[in-house]
């Protein structure tokens, strides 16, 4: 696949540790005010535990001095009150943190989805929908967790550490240096180890994605696999991938626990340092036991949230991998770029000028289209016929600008497709595909693709394509919810057969009132019984429009004005359908004759 832009690094490669932070900073930049308010909240949340430690140290001094219960009660009560306040603020912090994190990452999700939906054929050929769901949902959710659990905690711990040193500098300045040195040691250990678990964490995520990819593929094909008695094959595949995952988990944990060990030993060293220095000063009589207690407590104040954080560090590392994949996906842009030209009003003609198309991912060098010259006049309907591989689908893709011609040009209404503005192109050129995908949503949503369209128009479009009787038996009419099932066998479960799904796709096209329509085998799953209705619907859809109908079955082409016969990526015949049919020497007439002859032979 030479056309794929190589990602910045494969799984497990030297990953970019700054990636999630860069992404996070970019997201935070959009919400400065919210972030500022959040900072103030964090500062308040930081001050309280320090105050609590101060009270406890005072308590120790008082107890050591032999104070009575009466003098101790205010301290104990204040301590409890601070605990309560601290907890209340903690809840507010969580609430703000999570909602900020989700707001930010939902924006990232929407950017990604928009990006994916803009991308063209080459992009989608290389990925399954399941893979993309993992990117947009699982990976971005890893970012959400990273923001809400790791970033917020890291900030809180750094604030606590700095606050502790400052407070201690005021209360007992002699102990501030050992505290600062100890905490700096902890920070250095954390910084040193921050990336070590990244490669195995990325490997684990990749292994998990593989497990899920197998699960998704086999679940989607569950009926066929069951009918072929091959369930154990699916389970075996899942087992193989799961084995890889369990091994990957083992490798990740080994490294992760080493990281933890380094950080925790640094914390203990900081404690011991504080006790040793405190003991020295105490032995000289410069400070009291309460001060040593305070210094020790301050290490503990940092240690407690840090203990929670080190179990979350792997989330940071997971987020690093996730962020990199998200950034890769955003960086990968494989759509034919939008132009700026608009299209003239009224019917549009389509002209191919020496259009050549070579797919750059194929090993062979044969062109899918080889210098195609073809003029499709405005308002006429042309049927394109030819064997598999003759270039019919490539022709359609060029008109729809799913690919750009390798050389030559394709002009719609006189404008080269590569120059046309995306919105203008999509508003005027519609496609009805062979495979119809349904969305979880109402019938109306599925016809309008979530655009705001009056109900009457939706109903009219459905009736125009012959789905009236189907619509009438739905419990809630066009508001009936369809389950999230793909077309085909599973569509039946959604109350819609494959043929009906194709009719629905015709209704989608009809509703958009385009000037150019491309039907690529759009009615191949519609049976003869609805053929008349379909023919009428197709006639309505193509009337007054420039239409390209690609079909294997020649009887589908009766609505066409012209016929273009393709072979080997070239046009080999073009003419009015009736004239070609009447001329026994034409390729189209021969095709008709051979199809009829074959059917006669079959019948006899």
């Amino acid at each position: 696949m030479s056309d794929t832009i190589a990602p910045a690094g494969g799984p497990g490669s030297t990953a970019d540790a700054a990636a999630p932070w860069r992404l996070v900073l970019g997201l935070l930049g959009r919400h400065r005010a919210a972030v500022a308010g959040y900072g103030a909240l964090l500062a308040a949340a930081t001050a309280l535990p320090l105050l609590g430690a101060l009270l406890l140290a005072r308590f120790v001094d008082l107890v050591a001095a032999g104070a009575g219960t009466g003098r101790l009660i205010p301290y104990a009560a204040a301590y409890a009150a601070i605990g309560a306040l601290s907890a209340a603020i903690g809840v507010v912090v969580t609430w703000r943190t999570t909602s900020l994190a989700w707001t930010l990452t939902d924006e990232l999700r929407r950017d990604l989805v928009r990006h994916v939906l803009e991308a063209d054929l080459a992009f989608h050929r290389d990925r399954t929908p399941g893979e993309l769901v993992t990117r947009v949902d699982a990976d971005v959710t890893a970012m959400t967790q990273f923001l809400s659990r790791v970033v917020a905690r890291v900030v809180a711990i750094v604030l606590l550490g700095i606050g502790a040193v400052l407070v201690l500098a005021f209360v007992e300045w002699r102990l501030a240096p050992p505290l600062a040195v100890g905490l700096a040691l902890v920070a250095a250990a954390t910084w040193w180890q921050r990336d070590s678990a990244m490669a195995p964490t990325v490997a684990e995520r990749t292994a998990e994605a593989e497990v899920m990819s197998v699960g998704e593929q086999y679940l989607a094909a569950a009926e066929e696999v069951a009918a072929l008695g091959a369930g154990s094959h699916g389970v075996r595949r899942l087992g193989e991938r799961s084995t890889g995952l369990v091994d990957a988990v083992g490798r990740r944990v080994r490294v992760q626990m080493r990281v933890q060990a380094v950080i925790r030993i640094a914390v203990v060293v900081a404690e011991v340092l504080m006790l040793a220095v405190g003991a020295l000063l105490l032995a000289r009589g410069t400070i009291g036991v309460g001060a040593v207690f305070l210094g020790f407590r301050f290490v503990m104040v940092v240690r407690q949230p840090l203990e929670g954080l080190i179990w979350r560090l792997q989330e940071a590392q997971g987020a690093t991998g996730a962020a990199r994949r998200v950034l890769d996906l955003l960086a990968e842009w494989r759509a034919v770029p939008s132009g700026t030209a608009t299209l003239p009003a009224g019917p549009l003609d389509v002209v191919f000028e020496r259009a050549t198309l070579v797919y750059d991912d194929e090993d062979g060098t044969a062109a899918a289209l080889d210098g195609l010259e073809l003029h499709l006049r405005a308002g006429r309907t042309v049927g394109v016929v030819g064997r598999t591989g003759s270039g019919k689908t490539s022709l359609a893709r060029l008109v729809l600008r799913l690919v750009a011609p390798t050389s030559g040009s394709v002009r719609i209404g006189g404008v080269a497709t590569t120059d046309i503005d995306e919105a203008a192109l999509r508003a005027r050129v519609a496609a009805v595909p062979q495979d119809v995908q349904l969305f979880p949503g109402s019938v109306a949503d599925n016809v309008t693709l979530f655009a705001a369209v009056p109900d009457g128009e939706v109903i009219a479009a459905l009736r125009a394509v012959g789905l009236g009787p189907w619509l009438d038996q739905l419990p809630d009419g066009i508001d009936t919810q369809l389950a999230a099932q793909e077309a085909g066998g599973a569509a039946a479960a959604a109350g819609l057969s494959a043929g009906e799904a194709q009719l629905l796709a015709l209704a989608r096209g009809l509703l958009r009132r385009p000037d150019v329509v491309v039907l690529d085998e759009a009615t191949s799953r519609v049976d003869p019984h609805t053929q008349a209705a379909i023919a009428a619907a197709t006639a309505t859809l193509v009337a007054g429009r420039t239409a390209i109908i690609i079909a294997h079955r020649l009887e589908t082409l009766e609505v066409c004005d012209d016929i273009a016969v393709m072979a080997g990526g070239r046009l080999v015949e073009l003419g009015a359908r009736t004239e070609l049919a009447a001329d026994p020497a034409s390729r189209y007439a021969r095709l008709l004759a051979s199809a009829a002859g074959r059917e006669r032979r079959e019948a006899s």
């Binding site: 939906l117 009918a227 598999t388 999509r426 799953r525």
Partner: protein, 566 residues
Amino acid sequence: MRLLAGERRMAVIGNFRGRYFWAGNAAWVVYFVLPLLPGWLTARLFTELQAERTGATFRLLLVALLASEAAMVVFIRWGHRLYMQGTQAAVSAARANALAGQLASGGREAAPRQLAAGDAVARLRDDPVDMLLLLDNWVDLFGSLVYGVGVAWLLARIDPWAAVAGIVPLFVIGAANARVGHIARRYRQRARAATSAVSAFLAAAFAASLTVKLAGAQRDVVGRLDRLNARRSAAMVADQTWEDSMWSANGTLTDVSVGLSLLVAARGRLDAGEVTLFASYLFSLVWLPQRLGGLVVGRRRYEVSAARMAELVAPVSDGFDPLTQHRALPILGGPPAPRPSPPVRRPLEVLEVRGLTVASRHLREVSFEVRRGELVVVAGPVGSGKSSLLRAVVGLLDIDGGEVCWNGAAVADRAAFFVPPQCAYVAQVPRLFAESLADNLALGYRYDDDRLLDALALAAFDEDLAAMPAGLHTMIGSRGVRLSGGQAQRAAAARAFVHRPELLVLDDLASALDVDTEIVLWERLSAAGCTILTATNRPATLRRADRVLQLGGRGGAGAGGAKMPR
């Protein structure tokens, strides 16, 4: 319901690689208790400090503190790996069981396939993990309890009443936690449902991405996503905030009990070491009520996840719990998983369908027969139930009445019976896997390359194969060659032909084929003497048919067995 039924089920799953799982969990219990030692050492250090003794004993205690913490770190490094691998193995076992239920051809393992693939994948991914967390909650609680008993004993040696004053409120907190657990469950359920909605929508949007692009509907689709995202984020924030409020409330009340016990203890004369002991031990006791609360939340979460997983597997019956089975899987040195094992071939003389009724698909009293070597075509308009009829015959759809007989004997479990070598089914829109062409054809059955090549030739795929440089080893799908609709259909046909089944059930096989290819295909099948039941309206097929079964329109399924002359 049996006491701790969920816990027992999870223990059975945990047993899947029990050595890892239980050793890992035991390590965690030990790890929870170990902090008693550094806590006690710290207290001793402060006792020494208050007495202004900073000599050899002090230094020794300092070294011991360092050593005890280091020992803990090393211990849990070993234990956590066992725990994680054992748990991941158990999660994998549950996932394999759920997938097996979805893929089963009949039998007691077979589960209804009622969920969209995206939804099912989300459940496969998250719910086994959440279910197994239940045992984690117990391990955490048990570890904290043992630790708590140790703390109580140490504190009671200093001042029994202070210990009581500190510990009793903790149990009050635990009880309070248990009372509000259902709220957590509600929040969790809502968050899960909202997440599933987002995933399902994304899956559909990405599957339809070209349709969306060509319709210029990106903005509207993203608009719908925004609404689903907003609902999910609100549910997640509520869930997270509630969980955190529970924890915070517990922490606060623990602070209060520390204050209380310090006051009680201050009646006597405490030294700095004893204050340290009280403060640090009671601080770590904060885990106890939190873990009680955690267990309550965890049990609710288990119920939610167990209910979601139950929709993926067959119901528990006669003590057979499909989710907790231990199957052969190569995980952590286990045996390789078995390949499909075909039943004994039972040559087909006649297949009879009598009075078959599927009310929801408008099929009423459908009867017809297929004799050896015949081509029987089911025809009828869109929505008349052609596909449903085929799916009902081979057992992919439950029937409300009637029977299917093989050589005169009624088939009890159709899904189990209609598999190769008796029958092979090809769906209307077949799905292939991101594996090699050979693996796609064999699906784990042991067939040699010649047999695969024969099947491909029969399916008129030979020319396509010739164009593939890697031949049978060509990778299909997202990481290899993407097949056209017609190629996929023919490859799927070959996947069925490879078994040389007694009966081929083909759902509109030729829908994506051109007429030439279609004719070649039928000629080859006919020459091979296959017995075929197919649904289609294509004239080329209908003309070859030995019998045509005409289904009526929606609502009135006239099911005559109109016989056509050959």
